[in-house]
């Protein structure tokens, strides 16, 4: 967006450019008239004296200066007007904005009040509903807890009973196992004792018996075998 200062500068620039173009055109005209000696026959030219030329140049210069000054003044006054106008517009705009803003604020306040009232109403309703829901939930929980307690008690009783039975069975089995183990160990102990007694007897009796006694014992065994009809 082009600002006020930029507009002013632009106008100044164009004015100066215009002036320069005019000067260049005049200079060219003078030069052309001076230098086109060959085309005497075809063009009509005016021979200008040097004095006249100097006068024209000074005149042009003076005019240009005046023009530039005038343009500058006009540009300045124009820019002042524009800035004043712009200021006025801005003030008007901000006044309008303030007015609108105050209107919006009022409306906003009204809306807020309305929302607050609505929210309060809803809160009251919500509190009522929440309290009711709490009661209902509490009642439900209470009844379910009571049921759960009953079923848990039954389950515990059942488990206790079955565990008791199982423990009794295991206890009985354990007793049997212990008895069996005890008997087995006693049998092993008896065997060991018999073995020891036997070995001791072998050693003592074997050593104490002489040859003739041994032979007698064999003959006795043979007699007994005969009686038992081994042969």
């Amino acid at each position: 967006m082009i600002t006020l200062n930029n507009q002013l500068s632009l106008i100044t620039f164009f004015a100066i450019a215009l002036g320069i173009i005019l000067i260049c055109a005049l200079v060219y005209l003078v030069y052309y008239l001076r230098s086109s000696g060959k085309d005497k026959e075809r063009y009509l030219y005016l021979k200008i004296s040097e004095e006249f030329e100097r006068q024209i140049e000074s005149m042009i210069e003076k005019e240009l200066k005046e023009m530039v000054v005038g343009l500058n003044q006009k540009a300045l006054s124009f820019s002042d007007e524009i800035s004043e106008s712009y200021k006025r517009e801005i003030e008007t705009f901000f006044r309008g904005v303030d007015g609108e803003f105050s209107k919006i604020s009022k409306v906003n306040e009204e809306i807020q009040e309305g929302l607050m009232k609505e929210a309060e109403k809803k809160m009251v309703e919500f509190d009522k509903g929440y309290a009711q829901a709490q009661d209902v939930l509490f009642q439900e929980i209470k009844s379910r807890a009571t049921e759960a307690g009953k079923s848990m008690a039954e389950e515990i009783s059942r488990i206790h009973h079955s565990t008791e039975e199982s423990m009794k069975e295991k206890n009985n089995q354990l007793k049997k196992d212990v008895e069996g183990y005890k008997e087995e160990k006693l049998r092993e102990l008896d065997k060991e004792i018999y073995k020891i007694i036997s070995e001791v007897a072998q050693k003592t009796i074997g050593k104490a018996t002489d040859l003739s006694t041994h032979e007698e014992l064999v003959m006795e065994a043979l007699e007994k075998a005969k009686k038992e009809q081994i042969f």
Partner: protein
């Protein structure tokens, strides 16, 4: 022939003696067919044990080993069969018997059963005394160890 064999085997009492005698008979096969004009007892000297040579000499004197080598061989084969077929009485005893004891047992057996037996005696001190007897498939433990074990088992601990 059995009577002859009985006479020959009269001195064979134990199983060891039986095995020894059969081995000697088997050893005859090596020279029975050689130098047949020489008596077998002469040929057997320095080749067989003295006891066996004495047996052969005795048989020759009794006229039981006359004839060809084949007949002699046949004789010894029959004798071997006779010996192997003799019943055996197994006795497990707890002591090393005297030299006479096997004869005593054998005579007792002959008196009671009119049967000659070969005694298979093994020594096992663990049976303490008495004997474990086995005869023709019949078994009987009449050792002192067995008696002791029975007595001990009746003791209530």
């Amino acid at each position: 022939m059995d009577e002859i064999f009985e006479q020959i085997t009269d001195k064979i009492i134990t199983k060891e003696e039986l095995i020894f005698f059969i081995e000697e008979i088997n050893s005859l096969q090596g020279f029975i067919f050689k130098d047949t004009e020489i008596p077998l007892s002469e040929r057997a000297k320095n080749k067989a044990k003295d006891g066996f040579v004495e047996h052969i000499k005795e048989l020759e004197e009794k006229g039981l080993l006359s004839g060809s080598a084949d007949q002699q061989l046949s004789f010894f084969k029959n004798l071997k069969n006779y010996l192997q077929e003799m019943p055996q009485l197994k006795l497990e005893i707890a002591f090393s018997p005297s030299d006479k004891f096997p004869s005593i047992v054998r005579e007792w057996f002959w008196e009671k059963n009119r049967q000659k037996v070969i005694l298979d005696i093994t020594v096992n001190p663990k049976i303490v005394g008495g004997a474990v007897i086995e005869y023709q498939g019949q078994y009987c433990d009449l050792s002192l160890l067995e008696k002791m074990n029975k007595s001990i088992s009746q003791i209530k601990l």
